[in-house]
C-alpha cells in the first residue's frame, strides 16, 4: 500500500503545523487536494524555519550591500571579498531545540550543518565560533546541558578538523527551558570559484552525495498514526546523529570535484533535506526538477516517499553535475567512500515531480513552493521605554574590591577556559589569537593577511530596549574586531526570539532588527547572512531576545594586531571614550544589587565609529601596546582582564568627583576602549586624540602584582585570576 493517497483531514493539516488559511492557500495554488507527500513538502517549505514567514518583511530592512560584498543573504552563506582574489564565506545558524532534547548530538549536528553551508559554496572552513545561552546555573538541567553541548560542539569540530576559535557563553534563568546553541563557520575560497545553488541547463543530472538517508529528524508531528503505517514504532521522530568523519570526507570530495570543474550547482541538505535542496536548486535556476526516489541511497528498509522527502539525515548534498563529468565525479566520491547516485534531472517545466516505485508522489509548481509561502506582517507592540537609572541613586554595596572579586567569579564574567579547552583551537596552524581575547585572529594561508572574528550580543539590553540592544550587539561586535586591529567588514546575524504570534515578542524582534540595521548602516558593516529562530519559549515564558551577531574583520598584517594583555610595567593606561557611569542594566546592578532594571546604555554610533577608528590607527602604527574594548562589567572588569592576561597589575587614579566610584568602575557606557601606550608617548597620544575630537583620558599606569586603587585594599592579580578560573570547573564538577 502506498501511503500517499491518505485523506487530508483538518487534524492532519494541523499536525503538519499548517494553519487552515495556509492550507487553503495550498488548495488554491494546486487546484486539488494534495497527496500526503505533497502536504509534507508544503509543511517543510512553509514552516517558520524555512520560509521566514514572520520575519521576512523586517529582514528586508537590513543593509546587505557594500563594494566588498560578493554574496549577501539568500545563499547558503554570505561571501565577502578580502582582496588578492580571496573571499571569506561565513554564516551563523541555530540548533536550539535539538540541543535541548539531546545536547551532544544537537550541538554536534548544529556545527555540522553550518560547516556544510560554508563548504557547499566552495570554501574550505578555517574556523568555527559559537554563541551559547544556558539557563540559570542552579536549574537542575543546566549542568547536563552545558556538558553535552560543549562536548558536542568540540566533538564535531575537533574531528572534522576545523579550529573552534571563539564564541560566548551566558547563563540566565530565561533560558531554563530553551537553551540557545548558535554555531558559526568561516571559510576561505577563491573569488573566481564560488559555487551557488541555482541550477542551469535542462536535462542535467541531479546527484545525491554523502551519507545515506534514514528516518532522522522527521518531525511531521505525531505522524505515528496508523493511518498510513501500522508499524508506529518505526515512525517515531528520531534524533539526528552527527558523523563528523563522513562530513570530513564529504568536504574533501566536494572540494575535489569543484576543483575539477564538475559542478554546475550545489546545495547542502539541511532543514527539510531533499525537499528544500531540490526545490531551491530548481526555483533559483527557473527550472523544474524530477526526482526518482528509488535511486536515493537509504539506510533503512521500506522508507516511504514522505519520509525520504522530509528526512533530515546529516552529511548529505545535492548537486547538478556537468553530464560529461559524471564518471570523474563518481570516481572521486567512491574514492572517499561516499554514496553517489543520480537521483533526478532538471526539466524545462518548472514543476517539482517526485516519483517512487513507478508512481508520481508529488507534482507541484516549483517556484510557488518557495515564492508563494505565506508572509505575515504580524502585529507588534513596542515595549515602553524604561527610565534611565541615576547612578547617584544606586547605593554601593560593599567596597569596590569586594565587588570586583565577586563579579570576576560570576557565571557570565568568569573565565570560559573550561569550555574552549575542549575545542581544538589551534589545528590548521593559523590561529594567531586564541580564545580569550576580544576577537580571535586566524591567519589567511601563509599570511600576512588575517581575519578577525567574534560573536556578540547583550540580551538584557535587548530586552530592556530592543532598538538600543540591537544597535549595541552590532556595535560591540564591531568594537571587538577593532580592538585587535581589524577593519570590520560584515556580519552574520542569528536572531533568537520567542513566539512571534505574541505582539510583545514581535515587538522585540522588530526593535532589534531595526537597531541592527541602524548600526550596520552607520558602521558600514553589512549583513551578508543569517538565520532566524523563533518560538524559543515554554509555557508562555520566552527567552531573552538574543540576536547573536557574528562579525568578520580584515587585518592586512597579523603581526601588527593587538592583544589585551598588559605588556610591561610603567606604561600609561588610557581610556578612549566617555565614562559617565551608566548603571542601568549593568552587571553590577544585577549581580551586586540583585536588580535587573532600567534603560540600557545608549549607543552613539558616530562616537563608536570615531573612537574605534582612532584606536585602530594607534594599533596599526604600533603605538598601542595593549587594547581591550569595554563591555559587561565596565572599566574595572576590563582592567582586571588585561592584568590577568599579562600577569601585571596597575596603579589606578581616583575617579572624577562627579561620578560615584562604583558607577565609574562598573558602569557600562558604550563606545569605550582601554589602551596602554609607552609612558613617553602618552602626551602625544592625548594630543592626537584632541585633534581627532576623540575623548581620551589617562587613568593610571601598569605595574606591580595587584590592581591598586586609592582607599581600597589591593586586589592581587593572582587572586583575581584564581577566582576567575575557578567558578566554571567547580560548577561543572558539582561543587559550585
Amino acid at each position: 500500500m502506498t501511503a500517499n493517497n491518505v485523506k487530508i483531514t483538518p487534524a492532519l493539516v494541523a499536525e503538519h503545523g499548517l494553519k487552515p488559511d495556509e492550507y487553503q492557500r495550498i488548495l488554491d495554488l494546486i487546484g486539488r487536494e494534495p497527496t500526503l507527500t505533497e502536504l509534507g513538502i508544503f509543511s517543510a517549505m512553509w514552516n517558520e524555519h524555512c520560509s521566514y514567514k514572520s520575519s521576512k518583511v523586517h529582514l528586508r530592512g537590513l543593509p546587505t550591500k557594500a563594494s566588498w560584498v560578493i554574496q549577501g543573504p539568500g545563499e547558503n552563506a554570505g561571501v565577502i571579498d578580502i582582496g588578492d582574489g580571496q573571499a571569506c564565506v561565513f554564516k551563523m545558524e541555530s540548533h536550539n531545540h535539538p540541543s535541548y532534547i539531546e545536547p551532544y548530538q544537537g550541538a554536534a549536528t548544529g556545527v555540522g550543518g553550518i560547516l556544510r553551508d560554508v563548504f557547499t559554496m566552495g570554501a574550505r572552513p578555517i574556523a568555527c565560533l559559537n554563541a551559547l545561552s544556558f539557563g540559570a546555573p542552579e536549574h537542575p538541567k543546566t549542568r547536563h546541558l552545558v556538558s553535552g553541548v560543549v562536548a558536542g560542539v568540540g566533538g564535531y569540530g575537533n574531528s572534522f578538523g576545523v579550529p573552534t576559535v571563539g564564541g560566548s557563553v551566558r547563563f540566565h534563568s530565561r533560558y531554563d527551558g530553551n537553551i540557545l546553541v548558535n554555531a558559526m563557520a568561516v571559510g576561505l575560497a577563491e573569488t573566481s570559484k564560488i559555487f551557488y545553488a541555482a541550477a542551469s541547463g535542462v536535462g542535467m543530472p541531479i546527484v545525491y552525495l554523502g551519507s545515506k538517508t534514514g528516518r532522522d529528524g522527521i518531525h511531521g508531528a505525531s505522524m505515528a498514526s496508523a493511518e498510513f503505517d501500522d508499524d508506529s514504532a518505526e515512525k517515531r521522530p528520531t534524533v539526528q546523529v552527527g558523523d563528523p568523519f563522513s562530513e570530513k570526507l564529504l568536504l574533501e570530495a566536494c572540494l575535489e570535484i569543484m576543483e575539477k570543474g564538475c559542478v554546475i550547482a550545489i546545495q547542502d541538505m539541511g532543514a527539510a533535506g531533499l525537499t528544500s535542496s531540490a526545490t531551491e536548486m530548481g526555483a533559483k535556476g527557473d527550472l523544474g526538477v524530477t526526482l526518482d526516489l528509488d535511486k536515493v541511497p537509504c539506510r533503512e528498509e521500506g522508507m516511504t516517499a514522505y519520509e525520504m522527502m522530509l528526512s533530515e539525515s546529516q552529511e548529505r548534498m545535492l548537486m547538478v553535475l556537468k553530464p560529461e563529468k559524471e564518471a570523474e565525479a563518481e570516481a572521486i566520491f567512491r574514492k572517499w567512500g561516499l554514496d553517489f547516485a543520480v537521483v533526478g534531472e532538471t526539466t524545462p517545466t518548472k514543476r517539482f515531480i517526485v516519483r517512487h516505485k513507478g508512481e508520481v508522489m508529488a507534482d507541484l509548481p516549483i517556484k510557488e513552493l518557495g515564492d508563494s509561502a505565506p508572509e505575515y506582517k504580524r502585529p507588534f507592540v513596542t515595549a515602553q521605554k524604561l527610565p534611565a537609572i541615576d547612578a547617584g541613586a544606586v547605593e554601593a554595596r560593599g567596597s569596590i574590591a569586594d565587588a570586583l572579586e565577586r563579579l570576576i567569579a560570576t557565571p557570565d564574567l568568569c573565565s570560559k577556559r573550561w569550555v574552549w579547552e575542549q575545542y581544538d583551537h589551534i589545528i590548521g596552524g593559523n590561529t594567531v589569537q586564541r580564545p580569550g581575547g576580544d576577537a580571535a585572529i586566524v591567519r589567511v594561508e601563509d599570511g600576512p593577511k588575517a581575519l578577525a572574528m567574534t560573536t556578540d550580543v547583550t540580551p538584557r539590553y535587548c530586552e530592556a530596549n530592543p532598538f538600543e540592544g540591537g544597535k549595541q550587539a552590532v556595535a560591540e561586535c564591531w568594537r571587538n574586531l577593532t580592538a585587535v586591529g581589524a577593519k570590520p567588514l560584515a556580519i552574520t546575524d542569528n536572531l533568537n526570539f520567542g513566539n512571534p504570534e505574541r505582539p510583545e515578542i514581535m515587538g522585540q524582534f522588530v526593535g532589534c532588527v531595526r537597531g541592527i540595521a541602524e548600526a550596520c548602516k552607520v558602521l558600514d558593516f553589512p549583513v551578508v547572512s543569517g538565520n532566524v529562530s523563533l518560538y524559543n519559549e515554554t509555557n508562555g515564558k520566552a527567552i531573552l531576545p538574543t540576536p547573536s551577531i557574528g562579525g568578520i574583520g580584515l587585518i592586512d598584517d597579523f603581526t601588527k594586531s593587538a592583544t589585551l594583555a598588559f605588556k610591561k610595567a610603567d606604561e600609561a593606561i588610557l581610556v578612549v571614550g566617555e565614562t559617565a557611569g551608566w548603571l542601568g542594566q549593568s552587571m553590577y546592578l544585577r549581580e551586586i544589587c540583585a536588580r535587573e532594571e532600567g534603560a540600557p546604555p545608549p549607543v552613539d554610533l558616530i562616537e563608536e565609529r570615531e573612537n574605534g577608528d582612532f584606536v585602530r590607527s594607534l594599533i596599526l602604527d604600533g603605538t598601542a601596546t595593549a587594547v581591550h574594548d569595554l563591555s559587561d562589567g565596565g572599566l574595572l572588569i576590563a582592567l582586571a582582564e588585561m592584568a590577568m592576561a599579562g600577569s601585571i597589575g596597575a596603579k589606578l587614579d581616583a575617579p572624577p568627583d562627579d561620578i560615584p566610584a562604583h558607577a565609574y568602575w562598573f558602569g557600562e557606557d558604550q563606545a569605550r576602549y582601554i589602551i596602554t601606550v609607552p609612558a613617553a608617548k602618552a602626551e602625544a597620544v592625548l594630543a592626537r586624540a584632541r585633534e581627532a575630537s576623540v575623548l581620551v583620558t589617562s587613568i593610571g599606569v601598569t605595574g606591580g602584582d595587584a590592581l591598586a586603587l586609592d582607599g581600597e585594599r589591593a586586589m592581587t592579580v593572582a587572586n583575581l585570576n584564581e577566582r576567575s578560573e575557578a567558578w566554571l570547573p567547580a560548577y561543572m564538577a558539582g561543587e559550585a
Partner: protein, 233 residues
C-alpha cells in the same frame, strides 16, 4: 629529507605537518594515500600525522592501523627507517604493534587543547638531537584519548631502556600530577621502540614552529630530523 606523510580518511593535521616539514627542512613531503602498498622510493622519514582517522570510531587509530600502507611502514621500520607518529599517529603506531601500550581516554574524560610543558629526556635520538637532555619545551596538546598505559612489565622495560623520550612536566621540569593533564602512566608523552627508530608522541610539535603564531619550541624536533637525515645521506 624525503618525508612521506600518511593520509587516512579522517586525518586532519596532515596539512599542518606538511607545512611544518616544508618550513623547517625546505623540502616538500609526499602525501601517501592509505590504500597504497608502497612508500615512495627514497623515503627516509614516515610521518603518521594527527587527526581522527576513521572518526576515531571503534578505538583511536584502530582501523587506520590495519590499512594496506601500514604493512609498508612496518617493513620500512624493520629496516631501521625513521617513523614519527603524532597524536592520532601515536595511537595508530600503538594499534599497529610498532609501539607497545595503548592510549586510553584522558583521566578527566574530556578533550583537552592547551599548551603543555614537556621534559625532553634524551637528546641522543634522531628525533631529539635538536634539544638538550632535560630541556623543557612548550607545545600544544589536542586530544581526548592520550592517557598512555601498558602493563607493568612493559613500563619497566620502557623506563629501564630509556625509551621514554618526552614527559609531561611543569614549566620548570618537575614531573608532578598537576602537569599530567591526561593521567598517563609516569607522565609519558612520547616513547620510542626498541630500536629507537620509531617515535610516538601525543603533543603537537608541528603547531609550535613559528614565532608569529605562538612559539617555536616544536621546531627543534624537525630541525634535528633534518640534520640527522641530511648527514645520513
Amino acid at each position: 629529507m624525503k618525508a612521506a606523510i600518511l593520509v587516512f580518511p579522517g586525518i586532519n593535521r596532515e596539512r599542518d605537518m606538511a607545512r611544518t616539514l616544508k618550513l623547517v627542512s625546505g623540502s616538500t613531503p609526499n602525501m601517501v594515500w592509505h590504500t597504497d602498498h608502497e612508500l615512495p622510493a627514497g623515503t627516509d622519514l614516515v610521518v603518521v600525522p594527527g587527526g581522527f582517522s576513521y572518526g576515531d570510531y571503534l578505538r583511536c587509530g584502530a582501523i587506520a592501523a590495519r590499512s594496506p600502507i601500514m604493512d609498508a611502514v612496518r617493513a620500512f621500520a624493520a629496516k631501521g627507517g625513521l617513523v614519527l607518529g603524532v597524536c592520532n599517529g601515536f595511537q595508530i603506531l600503538c594499534e599497529s604493534g610498532l609501539l607497545p601500550g595503548a592510549l586510553m581516554r584522558n583521566a578527566q574524560l574530556k578533550f583537552i587543547c592547551r599548551d603543555v610543558h614537556l621534559k625532553v629526556e634524551r637528546s641522543d635520538t634522531p628525533f631529539t638531537r635538536g634539544y638538550n637532555a632535560g630541556q623543557v619545551i612548550r607545545v600544544p596538546v589536542a586530544h581526548g584519548e592520550g592517557n598512555y598505559i601498558a602493563d607493568g612489565e612493559t613500563i619497566a622495560k620502557l623506563e629501564g631502556d630509556g625509551r621514554v623520550i618526552f614527559r609531561y612536566a611543569s614549566a620548570d621540569g618537575m614531573i608532578e600530577p598537576n602537569s599530567n593533564h591526561n593521567g598517563a602512566i609516569n607522565a609519558i608523552a612520547g616513547i620510542v621502540n626498541e630500536q629507537g627508530n620509531v617515535l610516538g608522541m601525543m603533543p603537537h610539535p608541528e603547531n609550535h614552529v613559528e614565532e608569529a603564531i605562538g612559539r617555536t619550541d616544536g621546531r627543534g624536533l624537525f630541525a634535528g630530523l633534518t640534520e640527522a637525515l641530511g648527514r645520513a645521506a
